[in-house]
Assembly symmetry: C2
């Protein structure tokens, strides 16, 4: 990979050369202190408090000191011609690791807080249309089928780079990643028997506006999941409890929640969920569904602050609808030079992939960027390349362009798009 | 692998041969029904209810229809000579996928519900003893170090096979798996500078009884994590918020929670956490720390029920302190014959690995078992082999023997240990 980034432990050596101390400036106060008996450590508060009730033993909660929450993207709901579309973003700036906690998975839905309260014992999935056998499944029946467990991101095409975005929640908060478990749609379609003229499906969920997606049969027979679990437990209500489809690598709007019906059809049906594509020709209607190679630095990102010069681990996420992330590069000089970042663990197909990059900040202004390359060779474009592609009319579909963050001399971090 | 198990889709063919219908008996009622317009599906309740408050949008909760909870293992707290040891098990019978939801991660702690309420802004980690520089870190300082993210199981050595266990919570509930993020302990020890005579560490947490673990320096310099996050967010209070060590593959008791101090020492120090090992010779004190190759069928397991004959996907988890799970076999005839199970995804080192096995139940009594082999060739032993090893005195350390589940003719599932 020819990485030019500093060695993982080089920060120690550099630190020793600087001021005779550690580069981790914040640690320095500890030097020279020699706790005789660790009294100052042992003296810490250790009273048991709120976590002792039977209820919390049964199903644990997070610490009351942890306050990271989802937020409305750009600070407000977005009304459109169909009503109030509510986008609540994942606090990616607080992200640690690759999995998004279920409680913080982004929500992009209509009518604001609309979440159906579905009794799983009463819920049914119907498969009909151009099939040999129309079928209705209960949840218990679906769980008897062979299942798969896969890590996948879901990203809304509404994630855009813009000069008006202050934080990463505004620019990238509508992407999240979970371990999904369910049945391959292919398994159910084979049970129903797809007829020769069945070339598309329409998946329908219990939602008025975003309730239906047209998807090509090739994708349906490939890797679409009919999912009933995320991160080891039943899907959460805001993510589609008790059943949804997960369409790996495609725009999030197509992963219909609260799934109740799949109809096999012989053509592309245009629905609200194609809003933005505006193509009625089934030959190319799905061509722009797939998310391009993408990445973003989550730390340091807009609104965060560096507390002093010295060593920092730059952290971020990369993903692509094209498959596995094969390379992530980082620039600390606004895109003039690029160096390979470390990819964490084993990247999974169409899943957030955590990356990191060892960096020593010298206190001068710096612009940080990341760039993703996927297994089929697609490279995340610059903002200029995306603008050139779409021309004057502005970005109509996805925007997977590179996000720059500017570190000011005072350590504050800002969106560097002008 | 030479798998002899039925093909993933063979259940469809078998189904077609049986009674002219599907083997998924429960689905059969749907056959012949031809919903004209899907009215019966669309008529489902879709009222928005409890999930619309700002609070739930900020940090989502599970559906009120989902009631899976942790339970005291064997239905009661276990008093011992040091006080009340409370073991709360993960409901593995409801497990989907490999990750344990943080809210359901098992808890093995002293004094029942004791959970310290630690303010992370005040928390400190001290590293002292046989080091060149004694150091005290704040949480913010720890987060500036290069971090790693890894999937690891933690299992209590108290997980035992026994004829008195009714469910999988009793037999295996004290193992869980999470995506942990933190700093390698090695990184911190190198910062402090371990002196030549430093051959062991003692890690100490804010807990009276289980608060200290002795660990050999070789393990400390290998893969021990000083972890501050699990499953994408800060560690939950019951799992050690804000800081714990994770000792991959070793008995869970050694992964000290609420970590505040690590002392580098020149010998093995015996603590409560060696209860059960009873070895004071540092040459072999740690030899029995490592969890052997292990697996258990989570469905069908004790207390569950099969609702009819036909196709079932047998599901389970396998893990080993020896590294990656390389093979899982399943027997449906009480261990007379074994067939390869499907391993889900890419197995990770010292992590739960989900497996599945396609099985058609003909309605007769059957005894199901699973057997794990790890990358270094260790094979999970039978109950007889374990008994032979330990002799009359009974199992003193871990028990990683094979768990048999008996399916009765009425579909009920029972522990088959006699």
């Amino acid at each position: 990979m020819g990485s030019k980034q500093p060695d993982r432990r080089a920060f120690l050596k550099r630190g020793a050369a600087l001021a005779g101390g550690l580069s981790l400036g914040a640690v320095e106060p500890a030097i020279g202190q020699t706790p005789a008996s660790g009294q100052s450590v042992e003296g810490q508060s250790q009273e048991a408090q709120d976590y002792s009730s039977d209820e919390l033993i049964a199903y644990g909660q997070r610490s009351h000191h942890v306050t990271s929450v989802r937020e409305p993207v750009n600070g407000r709901p977005s009304p459109d011609e169909f009503g109030l579309v509510f986008h609540v973003g994942t606090p990616l700036g607080d992200q640690m690791g690759a999995i998004t906690p279920s409680a913080l998975h982004y929500v992009g839905t209509t009518r604001g807080s609309f979440v159906p309260d579905i009794d799983p014992a009463e819920h049914r999935l119907m498969i009909h249309g151009l099939v040999d056998r129309e079928l209705i499944f209960t949840m218990d029946e679906l769980k008897r089928f062979p299942s798969v467990t896969r890590l996948h991101f879901i990203e809304c095409a509404g994630n855009r780079t813009s000069s008006r975005h202050r934080t990463i929640v505004d620019s990238h908060g509508m992407t999240s990643c979970a371990e999904w478990t369910g049945v391959l749609l292919r398994t159910l379609l084979e049970e129903a028997g797809v007829q020769d003229e069945g070339t598309w499906i329409v998946a329908e969920g219990v939602e008025e506006v975003k309730g239906a997606s047209s998807l090509p049969m090739a994708k349906a027979m490939d890797d679409i999941l009919v999912a009933y679990a995320m991160n080891g437990e039943p899907i959460r209500p805001q993510q589609g409890f008790p059943l949804r489809i997960v369409v790996p690598g495609f725009e999030g709007i197509l992963s219909v929640k609260w799934l109740r019906r799949i109809k096999v059809v012989d053509r592309f049906y245009m629905t609200y969920n194609d809003y933005g594509h505006l193509r009625q020709d089934s030959d190319d209607a799905a061509l722009s569904y797939q998310i391009g190679p993408k990445s973003v630095i989550t730390f340091p990102s807009g609104g965060q602050e560096l507390t002093g010069t010295g060593f920092y681990e730059v952290r971020g996420l990369a993903w692509s609808g094209g498959g596995v992330v094969s390379r992530v590069e980082v620039s600390t000089d606004g895109g003039e030079s690029w160096m390979d970042a470390d990819i964490r663990g084993t990247p999974q197909r169409m899943a957030h992939t955590a990356f990191s990059f060892n960096w020593t900040w010298d206190g001068s202004e710096a612009v940080l960027m990341s760039r993703c390359t996927d297994e089929i060779g697609q490279v995340q474009p610059s903002r200029e390349q995306v603008a050139e592609f779409w021309g004057r009319s502005g970005v109509k579909g996805q925007d997977n362009s590179i996000q720059p963050w500017r570190i000011e001399r005072d350590g504050s971090v800002h969106n560097a798009i002008t």
